[in-house]
């Protein structure tokens, strides 16, 4: 019964504040099943999330290979337009929702939150466990859509009606679209349960001395992203339910009267644009649901490996919160040319460009953290630098698309594809990769192989930049996206066949490099160099566990007590260039910051 863990955890945290943080009554796994499968330990759940997301992410990766083959070398891998559009759709949906969202919040969130705030586990471990299995179910339903007659939906990841549920779209008149919508609804339910844990654990289960402003930015990023998800996902859920009803029961929420291939359908009076509003009310915050955790994590990586406190910590926190809030008033910039009231354009262009300001501040502060630092060019640092470059690039192209008049010629072209892959595909993935190199020693107690890691980095960064940077220029030419065959316009300034082939080759190589990475993970977890405790000399709490890797309960017998913020690097007067968060002032009497 759920109540056990729920209340046991809650038992000692009643409304009377206690000075001592009482130990949680921990759930203890007894068998293989409860230890590895139906486990309630957030660390195990985090790894389960990550592995599931990575597995379905492979499908997304291979889909992109096949798509690129069709674009650059048509006929080498035979496919019809329907198959191509199914690949496009599943690639998008898997990467955005099932890989990035699940990995950042489900994976990193679960593993890092309790460790970083100094808790033994999430506040509702049982709900947390259910959350993973609901997510798993969503992935299974998604995978099942490959095996139904007609195959998965090919409606594009935005699933715009009427096209998503009409017969001119692959999977539109079969089970493909239904399974997609059901899978999303299940995902939302699972995620809400997970989010419940992340938010409340961060708010209420921090260890003693851990004020909000002492939290590492990783926690801030994940926290804000979760709150965004809490507001945004219901919109997807609502849109999904209404479209399912339109499809299955013939209601007309989103379906106007239409004539399809000469035949009038029974729908009447629905509004397709309403769906787009709901979708992007979810869809735009979704971008930040992926980006904010990446912002947070990369701040910590840069700070640790530059041996310097993050520059302008307060500004960084505010920027995260402001970006999160603003992300709810910019959604219609995805719809400038969608046929909505043109006067909306003024409002949404303004809000969209305003959001550039806090984002720019974050970039400045990352770079200023490097300035006068003591930079160790470790692999996580390399990935962080690569992140800054790709993110700046992708962010700046966002200024093109957000500025409504500029969006008119560029929307629905490859410029958009290049922009969002750079800013919310490549940039967050670089952070994910960097942070795996960073936290792998914590999770397994061993380093990842350095040589393979460097090869992986160079190929991934140079490769992915070569894919997406030239792609912008296709957009300037007016090459429209989602075309099964490369369109060679009569009036183009130059042939685009060559550049497309270059992009495809780069994509194949970059994708292949990820298998080197997987190989590295598998071998290093067994044979990698032993890492020992706190190998990067980081300040934050997750490295201060009694055992490495941390065992169930995270922190040995007593919870740590926090005496400082998470960024006491290179404090003047201190013997070492870092002071961990749980070091009492008396241990670092020489540090100058403590004396004044």
């Amino acid at each position: 019964m759920a109540a056990d863990s729920y209340d046991d955890v809650a038992k000692n945290k009643d409304s009377i504040p206690e000075l001592e943080v009482a130990p949680q009554d921990l759930y203890h796994a007894k068998s293989f099943w409860t230890k590895y499968i139906f486990c309630q330990d957030a660390k195990v759940i985090g790894i389960q999330y990550a592995l599931t997301a990575a597995a379905i992410g492979m499908v997304g990766l291979v889909s992109s290979w096949l798509m690129r083959m069709q674009i650059a070398f048509p006929g080498v891998i035979p496919m019809d337009p329907a198959a191509y559009y199914q690949l496009v759709t599943m690639h998008g949906m898997i990467m955005v929702v099932y890989l990035l969202t699940a990995l950042f919040l489900g994976g990193f969130g679960n593993y890092l939150i309790p460790l970083m705030v100094g808790a033994r586990d999430m506040v509702f471990p049982y709900v947390n466990m259910i959350s993973f299995w609901v997510f798993f179910l969503a992935v299974v339903i998604l995978a099942a859509s490959y095996f139904v007659p007609g195959g998965p939906t090919g409606a594009g990841w935005t699933l715009y009606p009427p096209q998503a549920i009409t017969s001119g779209t692959p999977g539109g008149d079969g089970l493909g679209i239904v399974l997609m919508l059901v899978s999303l609804a299940v995902f939302v339910i699972g995620f809400t349960m997970g989010g419940l844990n992340y938010v409340i654990t961060i708010l209420q289960a921090r260890t003693r001395g851990m004020t909000l402003m002492r939290l590492p930015l990783t926690v801030w990023g994940i926290f804000t992203a979760t709150v965004l998800a809490l507001f945004a996902f219901p919109a997807l859920f609502v849109a999904g339910i209404m479209m399912t009803l339109d499809n299955m029961l013939g209601t007309s929420f989103f379906m106007p009267a239409i004539v399809e291939f000469g035949e009038r359908l029974s729908y009447d009076g629905g509004s397709p644009i309403l769906f787009q509003h709901l979708f992007w009310f979810f869809g735009h915050p979704e971008v930040y649901i992926v980006a904010l955790p990446a912002f947070g994590i990369v701040s910590d990586l840069i700070s640790v490996h530059a041996r310097k406190n993050i520059f302008g910590y307060r500004m960084m926190v505010w920027a995260i919160v402001i970006i999160g809030a603003l992300s709810f008033v910019v959604w219609a910039h995805h719809m400038y040319v969608a046929g909505m009231n043109p006067w909306f354009g003024f409002f949404f262009a303004t809000t969209t460009l305003i959001i550039a300001i806090p984002t720019a501040i974050k970039v400045y502060n990352w770079v200023l953290t490097l300035w006068r630092g003591n930079i160790k060019l470790t692999i996580p640092m390399l990935f962080s630098i690569a992140f800054i470059i790709t993110f700046v690039n992708g962010g700046l192209t966002g200024l093109f698309l957000g500025n409504v008049a500029v969006d008119v010629p560029l929307s629905d072209t490859y410029f958009v594809v290049a922009h969002f892959h750079m800013v919310m595909g490549i940039a967050p993935v670089l952070v994910i990769l960097g942070s795996i190199y960073h936290w792998f020693p914590l999770i397994t107690g061993r380093f990842l192989n350095e040589k393979l890691g460097r090869i992986h980095f160079w190929v991934t960064f140079i490769g992915s930049y070569s894919i997406y940077f030239p792609m912008h220029y296709l957009g300037f030419m007016g090459v429209t996206r989602r075309y099964f065959e490369v369109f060679e316009g009569d009036n183009f300034t130059y042939s685009i066949t060559g550049i497309n082939q270059f992009i495809t080759v780069a994509a194949l190589i970059t994708g292949a490099a990820q298998f080197v990475f997987f190989y590295n993970i598998i071998t290093s977890s067994k044979f990698g160099k032993k890492a020992g405790k706190n190998p990067w000399k980081a300040c934050s709490l997750e490295w201060q566990t009694a055992d490495v890797p941390p065992t169930h309960g995270n922190f040995g017998k007593e919870l740590p007590v926090v005496y400082r913020w998470a960024y006491d690097y290179s404090v003047p007067g201190a013997d070492q260039d870092y002071i961990t968060q749980d070091t009492p002032p008396s241990d670092v009497a020489n540090a100058r910051a403590e004396q004044t």
């Binding site: 337009p81 329907a82 090919g154 594009g156 009427p162 096209q163 009409t166 001119g168 779209t169 106007p256 009267a257 239409i258 399809e260 291939f261 009038r264 509004s271 397709p272 530059a306 041996r307 310097k308 302008g312 040319v337 969608a338 046929g339 043109p342 262009a349 550039a356 501040i361 400045y364 502060n365 770079v367 490097l370 300035w371 003591n374 930079i375 060019l377 800054i388 470059i389 200024l399 093109f400 008049a405 500029v406 008119v408 560029l410 629905d412 072209t413 930049y465 940077f469 030239p470 220029y473 300037f476 030419m477 429209t480 075309y483 099964f484 009036n491 550049i499 290179s570 404090v571 003047p572």
Partner: protein, 281 residues
């Protein structure tokens, strides 16, 4: 060292690619020069920021490489610097936004006297309708659509009868004439897009969307569907031909009106009905 070089290489390389890239927009054939100009302005501003950040980062990586005898600065924040950067960014953003909004204002304000043309999208081809002699497009209803009346014109609307219908053929436009495109879709979303005209707008079933432009160059331009519309999306192409007046009139005289279309399909009773209404006016 290598990493700093890499950062410089990527930054400068991007600029070089931009300057020497043969892939660039084709010459503009409409009045929307303002869009191109805004893009170029955005390029200058964002390009400068990109290069500045890239080079500064390269400098930091090179200058502050790890040395165990060194210690990083301890500087939690620097309000002055942060505010200065914030204000600078805000100015940059305003510089981008203001011209953008002005162009947008032009885009959404259709000049008076624009020649109205209807574009209808369906899976997966285009149809067009010109207002005919009376200069007014007849009203339509999706319920009227059948084989004889592919546009779904209201036969009792007196303005319908002289409308010129162009079914799955090229569209001709008159050079320097301001046109307003009324966009309609019969089944799913489409988007009427000609790269050289720069402008585009989705066509949404159940409503009429629009945009306007003035073609300023004669020639043949390819139409692309720019909103995903199902399996045949990539093949939903067509041509717009911008003519001088003489050629245009010649083409126009060869087109069939709704009246002629109905007559050729043997629906003369409907024509009578419509003509009677017109005479009543």
């Amino acid at each position: 060292m290598i990493v700093a070089l890499l950062v410089i290489l990527v930054t400068i390389g991007s600029v070089i690619f931009h300057m020497w890239s043969p892939w660039w927009w084709s010459e503009i054939a409409s009045n929307w020069q303002g869009m191109d100009d805004t893009i170029l302005l955005t390029f200058w501003i964002t390009g400068a920021v990109f290069v500045a950040i890239g080079l500064f980062m390269a400098y930091c990586i090179w200058k502050y490489k790890y040395n165990k005898n060194n210690k990083a600065d301890y500087e939690p924040e620097n309000s002055k610097l942060e505010w200065a950067l914030t204000i600078l960014t805000t100015i940059g953003v305003i510089a981008l936004l203001a011209p953008g909004l002005i162009v947008w204002n032009n885009f959404v304000t259709v000049p008076k006297g624009a020649y109205e043309i209807e574009v209808v999208g369906q899976q997966w081809y285009w149809m067009y309708r010109l207002p005919g002699k009376d200069g007014v497009l007849g009203t339509t209803d999706i319920k009227n659509i059948n084989d004889d009346n592919p546009f779904g014109l209201n036969t009792d609307d007196p303005h319908s009868i002289d409308d010129v219908l162009i079914d799955a053929d090229d569209l001709h436009l008159l050079k320097d004439q301001v046109v307003k495109l009324n966009l309609r879709a019969l089944d799913v979303l489409h988007d009427f897009y000609v790269p050289q005209f720069r402008a585009k707008m989705d066509m949404v079933p159940g409503m009429i969307t629009y945009y306007w432009f003035t073609p300023i160059k004669t020639g043949t331009f390819e139409i692309l569907c720019a909103e995903y519309c199902g399996t045949g999306h990539y093949s939903m192409l067509g041509y717009v031909i911008v003519d001088e007046e003489e050629d245009y009139n010649e083409w126009l005289s060869e087109q069939m009106t709704f009246e002629e279309v109905l007559a050729s399909n043997g629906k003369s009773d409907l024509i009578k009905l419509a003509l009677n209404k017109k005479n009543d006016l």
